[in-house]
Assembly symmetry: C2
Homo-oligomer: 399 residues x 2
């Protein structure tokens, strides 16, 4: 007998039919002899509807009250799902975040899970109950409700799997797994059977949007085996684990991210500490920086370019204008295209192959950044989709 | 400085404008130098919408899960109201039933309040917060959510007022107070300035529907002064207390109840224990019986008539048919009209005056029942409204 944690997102429980569909998946798993803990998000648009209600009252809602408001969404979905499972003749009980023992930090709206006091979960499993837990939420040291932020239900599921040493944590979504590229846009995109945590992290950061990043980090830390799969089709998904078999591909995936702004500082004085001051200032204001490139100094000056998300760009330019007297430019008309794969470390030709593919369709590369398992290039936004297809084609083996 | 508990029903907080209106009433009370604890129900139709959601899943929902579901309604209204109060510049915090210390029995859907552990309430009041508490809900000894049943928010408010020894508990509704009769139907119906707990109990039972009965019982037990008033007009309402001044009226109110069925058992054997067996059987099946009349025995038989609510009638007839072999008839085409008032004890002419008024409009009285502060008659349902008006006119002083 295994212990399996299953997580279902809001669209998977959006209405009564979907709830029944999910209940069927859960009870099939239970009937196969497994203990099952289920984590659910709020139904469909519930969270957005609640946010709209708050906006009618105030443009600046208290973060504590916002969490109180939003946490009601999962309360509805867990009770409905528990009812549906009972209706099918199986024992089930729903638990709110605090009932399931989720102790979090006090950072309302983006709380971190400190620990899970899993006594109640174990008691209910001991009664052979299918336990339905409200994702996304917990309680802080003041006994006040907190939420983990968008995508927090994935993290809730992984945290439970870690706390209970579950055999597997299945994340059900509306896609069938992790693909080598967006299957709606790239011909020949393939579903991966397996992928490592590190690869998944690179893919998630780059905009694959299948799994919340914090959940993957936590899964890696506690070595929780994840499976990403669809709640609408009955097919195996993609397994995320420490060591994955490589199949026949050199890279795991090709992604694009168009939420990128490049800021260039031209003619900075070439003295020690300049870069430190720039990035320390940005970090202090919570502006995340991605790719950084610094030119070799010349004539006592140097140039630094870096990328950040579009919504941070204006603020970054403003901050830097106050402290620097060099020329500052900002370009948001760009995209980042990346190839990810642990295998590329041992294949020195990977970068060349990527650049060749881009050259072949006449796309100019503006910046390059590499890590052990990733190569990213910045290109014109208008070229992004063509570039992903060309790079994907270059790396994927023909069927 | 006084401590005032204010309770607002679902229609009072049905949308953003109503929430702001309620926030204005609350902050005005706070600005006048009072400590304020507010109890709120779920917004408008929220509870009905949640029940409909459950019905889509199952016709027989688990009571525990139903309470989990329904308790989300108040969670939404308290957080929105706390936001609205903060938006107006006043300190406020929302608390769920369990956070406010509501410990209840485990009878899901109709839980009884065992006690209120008011530490958190006191702490928040000590910080000069306006405390917004979710009505209708609590927590049982298993740490599971419970609800108090319909009208439970009134009881929540009175319980808090009792626990904190509040100076007053104001129940805001969509009517301006307690009237001598339904003002929409009876010309000359007057708002009462004051009324006793006992009178209010008789009026509530008889269908005045202004205050939940359990809340009045609790207010009487802990001597909590209640005020029933409108959230839409800025006028004094009706005070409910132990001893009320009598104004110029002999009776407090005239009410009708059309949810009545009369069941008659004709030709019962006139032996000891028959009545006991009948009403014990009904009580065992949770069938509440109101008026009971027994005829004088004759020819070794006797007749018993009693009333119950319409939805209980069929079940009662079925039960009694199994155990008795007398003739059983059931009439649902009747109404109960009552006059209530503590003053009538010392006025022996009250009953006669009521009967005279009915005789004056040619209404036949089928059964009569009296208590120290109430006289009820059963009449044809079609005569009910005319009867209320005539009786009201007979007792109310002309302006």
């Amino acid at each position: 007998m295994s212990l399996i944690v299953q997580k279902f997102g809001g669209s998977s429980v959006a209405n009564a039919d979907r709830v029944r569909n999910v209940a069927k998946i859960i009870t099939d798993t239970y009937k196969a002899g497994n203990d099952v803990v289920v984590v659910v998000s709020a139904q469909g648009d519930t969270t957005d509807d609640l946010i709209a209600k708050a906006k009618e009252i105030t443009n600046n809602p208290s973060a504590r009250e916002m969490d109180m408001l939003l946490a009601s969404g999962e309360q509805i979905s867990i009770s409905l799902l528990a009812m549906a499972i009972k209706e099918m003749g199986f024992p089930s009980i729903s638990l709110l975040g605090w009932q399931a023992g989720f102790n979090t930090s006090s950072a309302y709206g983006k709380a971190r899970i400190h620990n899970i006091k899993a006594d109640r979960l174990r008691t209910e499993l001991g009664k052979r109950n299918i336990v339905i837990v409200a994702g996304f939420q917990g309680i802080n040291k003041y006994d006040d409700l907190t939420t983990l932020g968008r995508g927090g239900s994935d993290t809730s599921a992984v945290a439970i799997a870690a706390a209970l040493r579950a055999d597997k944590c299945q994340i059900f979504t509306d896609v069938e797994g992790v693909f080598t590229a967006d299957p709606r846009k790239v011909e020949g995109a393939k579903k991966l059977e397996e992928i490592t945590y590190d690869e998944m992290l690179e893919l998630a950061t780059l905009g694959a949007q299948v799994l919340n990043n914090r959940s993957v980090e936590m899964a890696k830390k506690y070595n929780v085996e994840l499976e990403v799969l669809s709640s609408l089709t009955n097919k195996p998904g993609t397994i995320v684990k420490e060591v994955a078999k490589m199949e026949k591909m050199l890279v795991r995936g090709v992604t694009k991210d168009t939420d990128v702004a490049r800021i260039s500082l031209v003619g900075l004085s070439d003295t020690p500490g300049v870069a430190f001051r720039v990035f320390d200032k940005l970090a202090a204001k919570n502006i995340n920086v991605d790719v950084i490139l610094q030119s070799v100094g010349r004539d006592g000056t140097k140039d630094i370019s870096f990328t950040t998300s579009e919504d941070n760009a204006e603020k970054a330019v403003e901050l830097l204008s106050e402290m620097l007297d060099c020329k500052i430019s900002c370009d948001t008309d760009i995209a980042k295209v990346s190839v990810v794969g642990a295998g590329m470390e041992s294949h020195p030709g990977t970068a060349a192959k990527m650049f060749e593919a881009l050259y072949g369709i006449d796309v100019n590369i503006q910046m390059i950044s590499t890590s052990e398992i990733k190569i990213s290039v910045l290109i014109d936004k208008k070229d992004a989709d063509r570039a992903v297809s060309a790079v994907h084609k270059a790396f994927m083996p023909e069927e």
